[in-house]
Symmetry: C2
């Protein structure tokens, strides 16, 4: 019954099932559509005051969300966003077979403590700010492989817990260079399913998992520049693997390159003969008004691309304003320790092909 | 051709393909066998002096492995073990389509910096010391779903980088209670494939991904007790889901409970009416001689279960001395920050069913 339903949609979307779904050098074309049944976003006060403020499901009154520490506050973001996404999909948390989740903090504590109470099997992930792409990719593989009927993909970041983890105590009031980004306080959760249900927001049809790319940049206050080479590598590869041109996408959307990283990405791709200037959008640039919100190059963090996907990108896809986007969350790979030991800050980017779902 | 080969082995092993491979409440029975083509282990000097010392592929002369910092040393462990596993399988690193890897350090830097030079798409994972189970589970899903022909699963830990990350500076020479475990300096890599090739060491036939389980224990120097409830939960669930008894396994193997955790696990399972005393083995107990090596409760760390799987467990399976084992790496979920903020130390355990491959 369910298999028949899958077959029907597969035919409609023109999927082929030949047993191996490798596509090009590093991509996957899913044999069955992976439905994004629902999603939810929970963000902080500052994000609520930004250009997309009215689109988020929940905007906190302050950034503590009723918790005693910033880390607990970030956990409560994940707890809320997952519960809300499941509820919107008409499901209980226990209807979700597996969770694919991660965050920026050491040992991913926002995730472990945030999602623990739901008692769902948890695949813990780490991809820095690319984690939303990582969780959607692995969640989609679980669905398309028939290993689960329904999974949840959750990520988060929090401005204050991230500053504590990576930079300076907030109380120092240190100055931030114009190349720096502002970590988004936010979380989003996505419910993926093998069936369309009463309503689905969009469909995932393929992924291009990314490599770690190191251009020798060491400035942790210019993460856009650190991540742009990885975004370039993954986008270029994805276009080749799926044999598509930039025009085949309504938008090619990076996670949190910010204005500095965006310029670098566009230039790097032009050097390879690919022009995505018309299609490019960056969640970090979209989420804040950097002129009035003092966020410099833009927003960043796992929560940035995740919340913008849930609140804005999926809305445009659902309404059919966009037919197909390449969603490419970007991550900068560093820790306090690697930075203090003089290591570079390499980047990684994972691309997810998300399409409008025809009636 | 390849699909035909898969079908033949599937029939031989009695797999069923009905489109959805959920098994019981939280397990997966793979529709196609996932072959462990090869593996390799690289460990430190102390591990080389332990009871399994002669079985590891590489034993370092000191624990720096030619690097300048402990973190770099851990990275070089991953670099070596992956290269060696691929080489033993007759492959070059570029023949491996995806990597599934992680470690214990904040932001998984041992993995990012260790595997970067191979330029393979990387799925970054975090499951504390259960990460080997996590990587094998997700790698196996990628293979069984037809999303890749060959993947690599890599994990590592390092005594000195872990002490620095979680406990006290080594130079303090702090005393360790008898319940504490000794983080293994080691890494192992596994090459999974959808075809048997000239040689395969064993086959993965199912998994039981685990939940985060919190019994309210806060002692980071008694991680065995923190993880035992999670191991109990996953093992109990796995037996139910696959409708098996402990006797259906030659060994039920936890990652790094140590002697204190082992006692807790056996008692917790007995309370549920399950006796695994005859089948139970713990990699942490197996890797060191705690009487002569001053390791107290046993070994721990991602590298512990991974190295023991590669060097010892797969050898027994390959030779047919064991027909089927349940491999259950266990992780304690904490960070410096969560510990200092008074959080509990919950546990997680991911089970992988590994079987002898009949001719």
């Amino acid at each position: 019954m369910e298999k028949k339903q899958i077959e029907e949609v597969r035919e409609k979307l023109g999927f082929e099932n030949q047993g191996i779904f490798e596509c090009g050098q590093q991509s996957i074309k899913f044999p069955t559509p992976v439905f994004i049944r629902e999603s939810a976003s929970v963000v902080g006060k500052k994000e609520g005051q930004g250009p997309l403020g009215k689109l988020f499901d929940v905007v906190g009154e302050d950034d503590m969300f009723g918790a005693n520490t910033w880390e607990e506050a970030e956990s409560s973001l994940q707890k809320k966003s997952f519960y809300l996404a499941a509820t919107k999909a008409g499901m209980k948390p226990e209807d979700i077979r597996y969770l694919f989740a991660g965050d920026l903090l050491g040992q991913s504590i926002a995730t472990s403590f945030g999602l623990m109470s739901y008692e769902r099997p948890l695949f813990g992930l780490y991809g820095a700010c690319s984690t939303c792409g990582l969780s959607l990719s692995l969640g989609a593989m679980a669905i398309a492989g028939g290993f689960a009927r329904t999974v949840g993909c959750v990520t988060s970041s929090h401005f204050a817990s991230a500053e504590k983890e990576f930079r300076y105590p907030l109380a120092y009031g240190n100055q931030r260079p114009l190349s720096s980004t502002w970590t988004v306080t936010g979380s989003a959760a996505f419910i993926l399913s093998n069936t369309r249900g009463n309503r689905s927001r969009a469909v995932i049809t393929g992924i291009t998992p990314g490599k770690v790319v190191d251009y020798g940049i060491r400035d942790s206050l210019n993460m856009g520049a650190c991540m742009a080479p990885a975004a370039c590598d993954t986008i270029y590869r994805s276009l080749k693997d799926f044999d598509r041109k930039p025009e085949d996408y309504d938008k090619i959307i990076t996670g949190d390159l910010g204005k500095v990283g965006q310029r670098a990405l566009l230039d790097l791709l032009k050097d390879k003969g690919v022009d995505i200037e018309k299609q490019h959008m960056d969640c970090g640039i979209a989420i804040f008004d950097c002129k009035t919100q003092d966020t410099h190059s833009g927003g960043s963090g796992c929560g940035c691309s995740a919340a913008v996907l849930s609140a804005y990108i999926l809305k445009e896809l659902e309404q059919g304003n966009w037919k197909r986007v390449l969603f490419v969350p970007t991550g900068a790979l560093l820790s306090k320790t690697s930075f203090n030991e003089g290591q570079n800050v390499p980047g990684v980017a994972h691309a997810v092909v998300i399409e409008h779902l025809k009636e």
